[in-house]
Symmetry: C2
Subunit: 364 residues, 2 copies
């Protein structure tokens, strides 16, 4: 515990800030081994470089909060009186002049409550630095990821076995989700994407209840189970019954890009190097105009986290990092293909944690 | 469409602001009939009181964004170059000096991107005013809520029929979730609470995989299906095989509070009046020290939204509002009871959209 808070203090020092504030979410989970809802009731832990940590806790969460290993002052507040007085009390007691916050997790009303209590306080976005504490996964986290991926792959196998021409995207999605929970998911990493035909070209399509899959369709499934707090994220693109030569060529291009990306992973390479290796294959193909996104993203307690596998990210890969390699080619009035694996950086190279077959597969 | 943006313009005028900014989420859904992911890629629509609306859109979402009815300037940005330049371009083109934002939805990194583009801009929290556009539900929304509640109640009935002594909280949760999707849920309103024994006293307990339910336990189930974008939210507390007199007395107190709350709902009453009617029953009982939270919250596209049914909220109830009435009594080293219904305000009183039996029920 204490060492975990020390890591936050070290970030504050490095950024010349007086404190770090943490709200519920992935960082909170990793540090405290527990989580709280982010809703209209603010909960926040403040860790100053010097002095005692303190926390703002909704009164009805005091019981759960007492169960975590937190040694500091607690300012609780009740629905009836509101939370501002707890922020006021917290900031009245401290002389800090600046704090770092998680810009992707903290919401503006919390930022405003802090600023209202102490208008002179400088509030910096320390998202990247705080999240970097989660870059290298613990053994326990890697074990949970393996479990989440295994649950996901079992659910996918069951789901595609049952796909029939005439089922809608929504039918397939519902079956996938039931199979995920039936296979042992604690939660979904995110709302799955089940998209056929031109919908497969939309990176975040919603499953339609009026569009049945038909022979020749691409069927893109992007999904993942969450197990013990860790998120799987896998994409496979299938074809229904048959696949024409052009679609096959596009699929093979994406597959080669995926393989080239995985082959390029070694400790010491940068995130940009992996993106380069992957994107080079896509760009050299006849389908370069179908490139629409970067190669991948880190994966852990959040389904999108550092390291982002993209141009310009010079972050060096280290053993224990986990990220997706998910090249894709899309054309909005045509279809999309994406093949996404979850990659663990090892001491000597890479291990693909996903093992689901990625050769072009006809189903239904 | 245009009228919906007019409603935002009216809010800006009323708050003496020059514009309103909207990010993906419940308000976005209601206005545009579509939604986008809130992730590390910012998407934001800016609606000035005068002049043309504009939007910041991740390049890979351009296809989906083009499908919504938006008549304004679009600033897209790519992962490779980042989003700041899109914010800069947007704010360079406008002369607004102040904006209202959704404080509970917008995250700090977006707030910072705006402030970086235009340091002199005043950024106000217009959460409550923007969300108030969703206070009175449309007929379509009420129909979706009825469906979400019916799906939820079917799933609950199936789940408790199968509860056996020895099943863990986690087993019951997994079965509930599969039943929800099997019954037609598009999504979960939130991660369900399935809590027995002392865990039932924690308002946001996590299901344990090592705690089986045993005779005499309270089993609290708080859950809901999301259908067509609308959220059900229901709690029932059961007892396993038998229930002692004291537990029964506590249960009956909560039930009487629930009924008193529902009976007090008439258009024109305030949210605080409903809280009073409910809380009065709890406070008059021998268990007043077990009160830990307000009476309820609005329910719609978000599972927690206005109107909050709590002391101090003088918001007048109008026909078409929907909220929960969910009194509870909890003691951390003992157990908790909560009974939660979803209530629609009608022209003459209230309709409970939930109809699941709430007499004390022994199961397993």
């Amino acid at each position: 515990m204490t060492d975990k808070l020390d890591a936050l203090r070290a970030i504050a020092k490095k950024m010349s800030l007086d404190a770090i504030a943490i709200v519920p979410g992935a960082n909170f989970q990793r540090i405290f081994g527990a989580d709280f809802h982010q809703n209209e009731r603010p909960l926040m832990v403040l860790v100053p470089v010097d002095g005692t940590p303190s926390a703002i806790v909704p009164n009805l969460e005091l019981g759960s909060f007492a169960a975590i290993d937190f040694d500091g002052e607690v300012y609780d507040w009740k629905d009836q009186t509101g939370y501002q007085s707890a922020f006021d009390a917290m900031f009245e007691k401290t002389s800090i002049q600046s704090i770092g916050v998680e810009g992707q997790s903290m919401r503006v009303f919390v930022h405003h409550a802090i600023a209202k209590s102490k208008p002179s306080l400088a509030i910096a976005d320390a998202q990247r630095e705080i999240a970097s504490l989660r870059l290298v996964k613990s053994d326990q986290e890697i074990a949970a990821l393996r479990k989440a991926i295994s649950v996901s792959e079992n659910a996918l196998a069951k789901t595609i076995d049952a796909v029939k021409v005439g089922m809608t995207e929504k039918d397939i999605e519902s079956s996938l989700i039931q199979n995920l929970y039936g296979s042992g998911a604690d939660d979904l990493s995110f709302s799955p994407i089940v998209a056929c035909d031109s919908n497969s070209a939309k990176p975040h399509a919603s499953a339609r209840d009026d569009v049945p899959v038909k022979p020749g369709d691409a069927l893109l499934i992007d999904f993942g189970a969450k197990v013990d707090g860790l998120c799987a994220d896998i994409t496979r693109t299938f074809f229904i019954q048959h696949c024409d030569d052009r679609s096959r060529a596009i699929y093979e291009t994406v597959l080669q890009a995926n393989l080239a990306g995985i082959a390029s992973v070694v400790p010491g390479a940068t995130a940009a190097d992996i993106d380069d290796a992957t994107t080079r294959v896509l760009e050299a193909s006849a389908y370069a105009d179908r490139i629409h996104h970067k190669t991948g993203h880190g994966l852990g307690r959040e389904v999108h986290e550092d390291p982002y596998i993209m141009r310009g990210n010079d972050e060096k890969l280290q053993a224990g990092m986990v990220f997706t390699i998910e090249p894709g080619l899309y054309q909005l009035d045509d279809f999309g293909v994406r093949i996404e694996d979850d990659i663990l950086v090892t001491e000597t190279g890479a291990e693909s944690l996903t093992s689901f077959d990625k050769q072009l597969t006809l189903i239904a």
